[in-house]
């Protein structure tokens, strides 16, 4: 486990003590304990539970990236389907001859 500093929104800010302690002393940083070996993009500080969350916990870095990209694609596909349906629904029907 290692110390990590987050900003007040729970986003990763710095792993460095000097810089992190400055943030904390000014009330714009949060000091927390984070698991070792997890890249910072997967770390966030949960303001409700007051603990560090790990995105895609249990997955390796490689698998986490694959999952993130897959999730983004799934979301995009769903949005495209939804928009296509909405566009079709809004089309003006042709006038009867």
């Amino acid at each position: 486990m290692a110390t990590y500093y987050f900003n007040n929104k729970g986003e990763p800010a710095t792993p460095f003590t000097v810089s992190g302690e400055e943030l904390v002393s000014k009330g714009i940083g949060i000091k927390a304990i984070a698991p070792d070996g997890i890249e910072s993009w997967r770390l966030s500080y949960n303001l409700s539970t007051k603990a560090v969350d790990v995105l895609y916990e249990g997955l390796s870095e490689e698998d986490a990236i694959a999952k993130k990209n897959a999730d983004a694609q799934t979301l995009l596909d769903a949005e495209n389907v939804e928009m296509a349906a909405a566009a079709k629904a809004s089309e003006t029907p042709p006038k009867a001859e």
Partner: protein
């Protein structure tokens, strides 16, 4: 008493290059750009400046319907695809639709990596059929980092490679000037590869790094040239600058660098020079005294360096630079007023978020770390207002206004012994103008302080009435300074 000067304009002239406060464009569209799309140009006050619409229809046969002069034609009318709706997460430059939103699209030069956009709102995409042969793709890293007067961006494109400086016409592959300056190198063992060059127009000072190769060689020879002739004057040839040198000095050193193409050189008004680069997933920045020392004096880096090299103190994760491809070289940009500079690269892979050093141009020893940790739905960063930058946010605007990460500095603050003040905003009016006397922003310790950016609402609806992820685009001319429309007149 009148004279010709006062009759014809009062004796003061505005630099012809000087633009009004920065503009940016937003492109919002549904996934297929076939039913809804919106494209507008905004000023630094987030007010609309222009829109390129001729007419709007909604058919199933007209992609980019109704847009005047839509020049994204090239080979098949949609070279960079018809879909700017896609997310950028880990994709590189050839995933055109995603990479449009990469931080790497925009630097201080008026053209962008994939396109240019006029103030009137005409975007022109480069053809991807020859894209990998282009200047920006292959050798954009040889461009000079320019420190210019207020409101000016580089209107001449000088590049430096080996022992030769050339002038290019914009982002083309067309030479218009050439000069081999090797006879002016005074290092008795000059290194062969120019790998980072900065120019300050105020003190007509050109500083260049030479390395032992164009890869990761750590040997460095730094030359400092001062001339009585400005490199950017309209009639100046590169040769004229070197023919009129007033002093030349050099020093040698050994600098850690993963890839020498990432070096940026910030020549300060006080003759201190900042050198910075993306270094693996982190960054480094160091400052050296390039004031005139005299012949044969201070020829080692140690004799000129202020303090120590600073590794990036903010959050880092896997991110890519010139090691992964020369086109991903570390970028440099300045605020509109030219008082603050920024050496920057993505937080994540090829484009989202930002890891940056921002430094005073007056005194490059004054600098802080800037950090934003997005891993998706990003956008590039552009100069904003007088003394700031904004960008980085392309989240869905269906149901809320477009947001951006905006931050500004004090243009008069150049004292590296005191903390640096950064002004920010909020996602609400009460947050931006609170019912107390608190600073909305922060004061950050010089060198090690980390400023994490916050998103703020702009009042803009970003795109269409349905799901959209607005793309922020750079504009190649922000309008004449002081023109009638004060919203972008810079006054």
């Amino acid at each position: 008493m009148s004279n010709l000067s006062t009759i014809f304009g009062g004796g003061t002239t505005v630099d012809a290059r000087k633009e009004g406060l920065p503009l940016f464009a937003l492109w919002g569209g549904s996934g297929d750009q076939n039913t809804q799309m919106n494209y507008r140009v905004f000023d630094s006050n987030f007010r609309i400046v222009s829109t390129p619409w001729a007419a709007v229809t909604s058919t199933t046969s007209n992609y980019r319907f109704g847009m005047l002069s839509d020049a994204s034609h090239a080979y098949n009318m949609s070279d960079h695809s018809t879909d700017f709706h896609s997310d950028l997460t880990t994709q590189g430059y050839s995933s055109w639709t995603n990479y449009q939103k990469s931080l790497y699209q925009i630097d201080q030069y008026p053209h962008c990596f994939h396109y240019t956009v006029s103030r009137g709102g005409f975007p022109t995409w480069q053809s991807y059929h020859q894209f990998t042969s282009s200047m920006e793709y292959q050798v954009g890293w040889t461009k000079l980092n320019m420190v210019l007067p207020e409101g000016c961006r580089p209107r001449r494109t000088f590049v430096n490679r080996r022992h030769t400086m050339r002038e290019m016409m914009g982002n083309s592959d067309c030479n218009s000037d050439y000069y081999d300056y090797s006879s002016h190198l005074i290092d008795p063992s000059p290194l062969n590869y120019a790998t980072g060059t900065g120019y300050n127009e105020k003190n007509k000072m050109l500083v260049m790094i030479h390395s032992g190769d164009e890869g990761g060689n750590t040997s460095k020879s730094i030359h400092i040239f001062r001339s009585s002739v400005c490199l950017n004057e309209g009639t100046t040839r590169i040769k004229d600058f070197f023919d009129n040198l007033e002093s030349t000095e050099y020093f040698t050193d050994t600098w850690t660098n993963q890839n020498v193409k990432d070096w940026c050189v910030v020549v300060g008004n006080n003759n201190w020079v900042g050198f910075g680069l993306k270094q693996s997933n982190s960054k480094r920045y160091g400052v050296f005294d390039c004031n005139l020392k005299g012949a044969g004096v201070a020829i080692t880096g140690a004799s000129r360096q202020w303090s120590t090299w600073q590794d990036f103190a903010g959050s880092t994760t896997t991110s890519y630079g010139a090691t992964q491809g020369h086109q991903y070289y570390t970028k440099f940009q300045t605020t509109w007023d030219g008082t603050w500079g920024m050496i920057y690269s993505p937080y994540y892979y090829y484009g989202p978020g930002i890891n940056a050093f921002c430094m005073s141009i007056e005194n490059p020893r004054k600098f802080i770390n800037i950090n934003q940790t997005k891993t998706s739905r990003s956008n590039p960063w552009v100069a904003w207002g007088r003394t700031g930058f904004h960008g980085g946010w392309s989240d869905n605007c269906d149901g809320e206004v477009w947001q951006t990460y905006a931050f500004a500095f004090d243009p008069k603050d150049s004292d590296h012994t005191i903390a640096t003040r950064v002004y920010k905003g909020s996602t609400s009016g009460e947050g931006a103008i609170p019912d107390n006397n608190s600073l909305v922003g922060g004061d950050f310790t010089n060198k090690t302080g980390v400023c994490s950016l916050d998103a703020m609402r702009t009042g803009l609806h970003g795109g269409t009435h349905t799901t959209n992820y607005p793309m922020l685009m750079g504009v190649n001319w922000w309008g004449n300074y002081g023109s009638a429309d004060m919203s972008y007149g810079g006054k």
